[in-house]
Subunit: 233 residues, 2 copies
């Protein structure tokens, strides 16, 4: 089954990721009607920008994205990387405006869930409302864990944890947790982890020397998973 533009929610292979709750067929069909399938988004194109009015939430069908906010001087802070099945845009619900920019790291497909219709529909389908709250809650949790890592771990620990977690997220999507592409640049990765590019590069080299991973540009193979894990706790 492909992720072609015209597939329905009921048949979408990532529906259990983006809205992983047991909706009835009739509920799924309701949802299906409101979802807009957008045309492909090319690498480096933005899905929305800082200050854009909230149009809707987005479920990623394929491809990966990064999100970032800016400080007063226009410097970026990468706030997350998003994979197929992720739903993004929750941070815009508060003031109906996106606080950050979300940009494709490779060609991607998304479904838009228009905000106003979602609002109505979540009244008709209580489970949908709960599901959205649950996703937002999970994001809060994820960010808390990230803060813990950022604040308390060494550069090597942060990077090792990132690699393992990224693999875990891929595994949830039936992909290999041990062999994968890192879709982001070293700079983006360093920015996310609070490290400089140079540190990221040096550490990746060291991990490779230690025979913990192999590296071919953006392609990572985790050889010694337990060594990485051990570093993180």
């Amino acid at each position: 089954m492909s992720t072609s533009p015209n597939i329905s929610c009921a048949n979408c292979r990532i529906s259990e990721l983006c809205l992983p709750f047991s909706l009835s067929n009739s509920e799924l069909n309701l949802l299906d009607e409101i979802i807009k399938r957008k045309k492909p988004i090319q690498k480096n194109q933005t899905l929305f920008k800082i200050g854009d009015t909230l149009s809707g939430l987005y479920a990623i069908r394929s491809g990966t994205f990064k999100s970032y906010i800016e400080n007063a001087q226009g410097e970026h802070q990468v706030t997350g990387f998003h994979l197929p099945g992720d739903v993004i845009g929750f941070d815009a619900l508060a003031d109906k405006t996106h606080p950050g920019t979300t940009q494709a790291l490779e060609t991607a497909m998304v479904c838009e869930i228009p905000y106003d219709v979602l609002d109505q529909l979540s009244n008709q389908i209580p489970r949908l409302k709960m599901q959205i709250m649950s996703l937002m809650s999970a994001e809060l949790n994820y960010n808390q864990r990230h803060l813990l890592s950022i604040n308390q771990e060494s550069a090597a620990q942060k990077l090792a944890r990132f690699l393992v977690k990224f693999g875990d997220r891929l595994a949830e999507r039936q992909l290999s947790s041990k062999e994968f592409q890192l879709p982001m640049t070293r700079t983006d990765l360093g920015n996310y982890l609070g490290l400089t590019v140079e540190t990221v590069s040096r550490l990746l080299s060291r991990f490779q020397q230690n025979q913990w991973i192999t590296l071919d540009k953006k392609f990572v193979t985790i050889i010694d998973h337990s060594a990485l894990l051990q570093l993180t706790d």
Copy 2:
């Protein structure tokens, strides 16, 4: 008007903070019926602990709290400080279990909004549902900004920003943004900001030497607000 245990939502002086949306009187009365007013929570007592089953959300009527999560070794990461009017517990919605502990920093009063009733009521009052999502979204935003500060700013910048922001949050509550108690220990503050106690202590001393603040134990007076602001951008 006091924050006595038996006051109704309609008359609560912080209702526009904890649920700052225009509910009709009948809606307010509905909300009023479900809210449990808890007995006072003493300093160092916990409101809930890591792993506790979600009972409900909590609106703080008076007092302050800190929240923290733990890593595998039991080390704490302070994830936030909560003031009157804040609603906490959203991070437990995902798996109906609190991922962290919330502890009173001084004697406090809270209202509990039982989860199951909230769930039902949010179906009857769509605006309540939106309000909750909005609060969660705002928390996501706040955490993103915190990450930016943690990752990109120097120790002095982080601390200066914290002092200004804390003052701002007090101002939103009609309290002085320039003269206030820091309810947390230096250790908690350092932990939150990703700094050691010693660094926090040294910086506070330096800020005082620079005539930017005065310090008397936990009581802070901001003398040169603009100097602190300037440091942060």
